[in-house]
């Protein structure tokens, strides 16, 4: 990378490879995401595709280092600060790990209230991200700049679901998505506030909650708090009855307007979901029973490979996690202590498992042929093949819906997983009748389907919240108003929490010794998605999805905005504070002719 920013015309670096005209295009920072991400690519304009992609993150903070020796009860307060948009997912996941380590189980009402808070978070975060951040990539201003032909077509294409959302043409939808001036953009911003109010009703403040504790939640369970939540939930349900058909129209239009668009951001179906929303009837937070209560979650955990469910057992998911160093700015912990040799069921725990990881930062120059990011490479070992799979989360929703659909376990009054789809029922609201939506397993894991799944999951979270509300109120009416259970902190213990952050898999692993934190490693979605090439040379999912993405943008290299690449990256809902550092250099275009073997494909 050090040389790549200098114009070097016509220099071939390797005589053996066939010559391709590649132009380096870098974007640093990627905006409209959370955190600092850079994307560095080489584009083959002649063949209209991205030849190479490197992703880099430019921030290191060191949570695993400064948490050592701290009181284990503080873990959720501290780890919430990892992320500024889904901090509460971290706090919740930390509480799950604390509950396991401390051997405590919250009262049912406490668990339902935590579920309500988390449901509100999904409703908020996807809402803001989908239409205030991602949506801008599909707005009138952007489409006019990148694909005037598509804008032309959008003006002449009527929206199939116009009766449901009120926009006559696809162009009307695009105009409404213009930042700040677009009506739908502003309405979404308002809905993101309403849903945050719902969150604050349960968790006190946003985005770092104040009412979560190991053992449950401190929110006083009153009739009022549920009334206030319910009236807002109904408004959101009504909103979703318009928004979901709107997004279907918009995304279907892209397939139609740009044949082949399914290839944008496409990669092999390698999805991970760690499950969300515990069922207090089954979840006892013991490791021993984790496989069973994991399958009772209201979003089913699972690993989906090539469209097939490999496992939905959280123990299986846990013991096969591996953290590989790859091309990141860290030293190996080969000589550091192994904290956990066996799990409580007697399964061997690998040295490269989060329980045994020791974080040793080594700041250094960025070198795309060597180390280029602060993100390590988490992988999941597929015992069937011995492959270290670079699972992605697809930004969260696509993996959650896929995993839930295939397992076919979730069934409430409002949700049903069928084996190949998920049915979502939203009850009657002020002006709209009851509606049932069905998310069907798509053909591809690509940018459009990741984005589409997001809007379906907004409806899913809403439908799930109706159930949690019913259950919480039942507890309240029955006089079971306790929301928190007492616990003591053991001298020695281990714990793990599995959850879904808004943008995908989240795990927290803790080791307690002498009543203090001896080791703590959170693994949020972004390290899974935004990691660099690992020790085997396998690129991380962003890199993988962007490489071979075709270019549909009408602009040539001189005015190139990289919109198809942006849509591919943003479909993953990048959230770099969680630990992704993609290197997307700058939009500066370099007239560099390189061989395709830029850097080392299998670096290190």
């Amino acid at each position: 990378m050090a040389t790549s920013v200098l114009p070097q015309t016509g220099k071939a670096t390797s005589p053996s490879a066939p010559k391709r005209d590649l132009v380096e295009m870098n974007w640093d920072p990627i905006t409209r995401i959370v955190g600092s991400l850079g994307i560095f690519t080489k584009i083959d304009f002649a063949n209209r595709e991205v030849a190479e992609c490197y992703s880099t993150s430019s921030i290191f903070r060191g949570y695993s280092i400064f948490m050592k020796g701290k009181d284990p009860r503080d873990a959720h307060f501290i780890t919430s600060r990892i992320c500024g948009i889904c901090g509460d997912n971290h706090a919740t996941c930390a509480v799950y790990a604390q509950n396991m380590a401390f051997g405590c189980r919250p009262p049912a009402l406490g668990e339902w209230m935590i579920n309500l808070g988390e449901a509100a978070e999904y409703m908020f975060d996807h809402c803001l991200y989908q239409d205030n951040l991602v949506g801008v990539d599909f707005c009138e201003n952007m489409v006019k700049e990148t694909n005037p032909g598509v804008w032309q077509k959008a003006q002449n294409t009527s929206a199939p679901n116009a009766d449901k959302h009120g926009f006559k043409t696809i162009a009307d939808i695009m105009t409404s998505l213009n930042p700040f001036t677009g009506d739908f953009y502003r309405e979404t911003l308002q809905m993101s506030r309403l849903t945050r109010e719902m969150f604050c009703l349960m968790e006190g403040r946003h985005v770092h909650p104040s009412t979560l504790y190991p053992g449950g939640i401190g929110t006083a369970a009153t009739i009022q708090v549920f009334t206030d939540f319910a009236v807002r939930l109904s408004k959101y349900a009504e909103f979703m009855k318009r928004v979901l058909p709107l997004h279907d129209d918009l995304f279907d239009f892209f397939y139609e307007a740009l044949p082949g668009y399914e290839k944008v951001g496409q990669r092999r179906i390698l999805l991970g979901c760690w499950g969300s929303f515990n069922d207090p009837e089954y979840c006892d937070y013991t490791y021993k029973n984790m496989g069973d209560w994991g399958r009772k979650m209201f979003v089913t955990p699972g690993v989906v490979v090539d469209g097939k469910l490999v496992t939905n057992d959280l123990v299986d998911i846990n013991i096969n996690m591996r953290i590989l160093l790859g091309s990141s700015f860290y030293d190996s912990w080969a000589n550091a202590e192994t904290f956990v040799k066996k799990d409580p069921l007697g399964n061997a725990i690998h040295r490269d498992h989060p329980w045994n990881q020791t974080t040793i930062p080594r700041p250094q120059k960025r070198d795309f042929a060597g180390n280029y990011t602060w993100v390590m490479s988490p992988r999941w070992l597929d015992q069937r093949t011995g492959d270290h799979l670079a699972l992605d989360t697809g930004g969260g929703p696509i993996a959650r819906l896929w995993s839930t659909a295939l397992s076919g376990l979730v069934e409430t009054e409002y949700l049903k997983a069928t084996g190949n789809s998920v049915k979502i029922r939203l009850p009657k609201t002020s002006l709209k009748p009851e509606v049932e939506f069905e998310w069907k397993v798509p053909q591809w894991s690509n940018a459009i389907e990741r984005d589409r799944a997001r809007t379906y999951f907004q409806a899913y979270a809403c439908a799930a919240a109706y159930h949690f509300l019913d259950e919480a109120i039942k507890e309240l009416y029955a006089g079971r108003t306790k929301t928190w259970s007492e616990f003591t902190v053991p001298d020695e213990a281990i714990g793990c929490g599995f959850h879904e952050a808004v943008r995908g898999v989240l795990s927290h692993h803790v080791v307690i010794r002498d009543g203090k934190i001896a080791n703590y490693h959170p693994y949020p979605p972004t390290p899974w998605n935004a990691n660099p090439r690992d020790i085997y040379g396998t690129p991380g999912p962003y890199e993988d999805a962007i490489q071979n993405t075709p270019i549909f943008e009408e602009n040539g290299p001189d005015k190139f905005k990289g919109i198809d690449i942006m849509r591919a990256v943003r479909s993953f809902d990048p959230c770099l504070p969680c630990g992704v550092h993609m290197y997307n250099g700058e939009t500066k275009m370099l007239e560099t002719r390189h061989m395709p073997m830029f850097g080392a494909q299998g670096s290190k």
């Binding site: 503080d74 307060f77 600060r81 803001l128 993101s192 945050r196 006190g204 403040r205 770092h208 306790k482």
Partner: protein, 352 residues
């Protein structure tokens, strides 16, 4: 790091028609403050940008989380601010400032790429380039104000607050010290109101922003959590929660409200909803310069709290007992409110 203020004694120039807000989120942070301001409604970000507030200059926001532009197009605003091409701007810094001097090479925090070296440009360098040229520089959130979570004991990055980095006596081109709006994350309206105040000031409509010794706006941080807490009445009556989930005063469960400068209990989190102890969350002091270390372990009773809660426990229980008697009296209607043929209100027909 000191910057000589020149504008303070000058003749008042005409207020600018356009003001830019240049935002650096690349401190050691989580972007939680940027996300937080999208929740603000008093004023909202669209109120400010769309010109809904009379008297304000036209405001242009350049924040990475919300920007339409990407990569170099976005970075151009930073370069233009540096060269003076952009015009008057308020700089907002989010995230703690790492110490880049404690290691041989590489970077802890950076944004954008140096076109010459191909290496990332550190956040510290951007602060050095931009802060001295700003009309005002605001540190948003506790990381940027005082270091916060990432400056916790044992941290590897040497993180600190912006005023630690620039100097507590440092002044912007507009003659202001760093303006600190702490909170982890910042309370949405607290920040937007501070911006609004500074814009009024730039427009010549408000006097210099009043700041306390910790450089916080006095009207936002002059009171304690406890002074605004809707559970403070329980404290007065010596009635303390002994388990989480209780509606009573949380001091014995780890709440630091009585000694923490923050208005969240008065203002709530948004539209008056939420607000830590009001809802059932202990105050962990997240707005304070001493956060987090001086408040840990968070779930233990603050050491200083024992004496005061013992005292309020003693007199509070007597007051509570007496109030219970009065409360029972005022819970009964006066005896003359009844049906029947007889009027017992004491009314007498006047006879003349």
């Amino acid at each position: 790091m000191s910057f000589e203020s020149s504008s303070a004694k000058q003749v008042k120039p005409a207020p600018p028609t356009d003001v830019h807000i240049v935002w650096i989120t690349a401190g050691l942070g989580c972007d939680g403050d940027s996300v937080s301001i999208t929740a603000a409604e008093q004023p909202s970000i669209e109120d400010v940008l769309l010109g809904a507030i009379p008297g304000l200059p036209k405001v242009h926001l350049h924040n990475p989380v919300l920007a339409y532009e990407v990569g170099d197009e976005f970075m151009q605003f930073y370069y233009d601010a540096e060269s003076g091409k952009l015009g008057p701007f308020v700089l907002v810094v989010e995230g703690s400032i790492p110490n880049e001097q404690i290691k041989k090479e590489g970077y802890w925090a950076a944004v954008g790429t140096d076109p010459k070296s191909g290496q990332p440009i550190t956040t510290c360098e951007w602060i050095d380039r931009l802060a001295p040229k700003s009309v005002a520089t605001i540190a948003i959130g506790t990381c940027a104000t005082y270091g916060g979570i990432h400056a916790m004991a044992g941290n590897p990055t040497g993180a600190m607050g912006l005023a630690d980095y620039l100097g507590w006596k440092w002044k912007s081109a507009g003659g202001l010290p760093v303006v600190n709006v702490p909170g982890c994350p910042v309370q949405p309206d607290n920040f937007m109101e501070t911006v609004l105040y500074l814009l009024y000031q730039v427009a010549g409509m408000a006097p210099i922003i009043p700041l306390d010794e910790q450089l916080r706006p006095t009207w936002l941080f002059g009171k304690t959590v406890h002074e605004g807490c809707d559970r403070a009445g329980y404290y007065e009556q010596g009635d303390f929660a002994l388990e989480y989930g209780s509606p009573k005063c949380l001091v014995k469960l780890g709440c630091w409200g009585p000694v923490v400068n923050c208005n969240v209990t008065k203002r709530g989190w948004m539209r008056g909803i939420g607000g830590c102890p009001n809802v059932g969350g202990i105050c962990i002091g997240c707005t304070m310069p001493g956060f987090p270390d001086k408040f840990m372990p968070f779930m233990d009773e603050p050491p200083g709290g024992r004496i005061s809660t013992a005292a309020s426990g003693a007199y509070g229980s007597i007051i509570r007992a007496l109030r219970a008697i009065t409360n029972s009296t005022v819970n009964k209607e006066p005896k003359w409110r009844h049906p029947g043929k007889e009027l017992t209100t004491g009314y007498q027909v006047e006879r003349h």
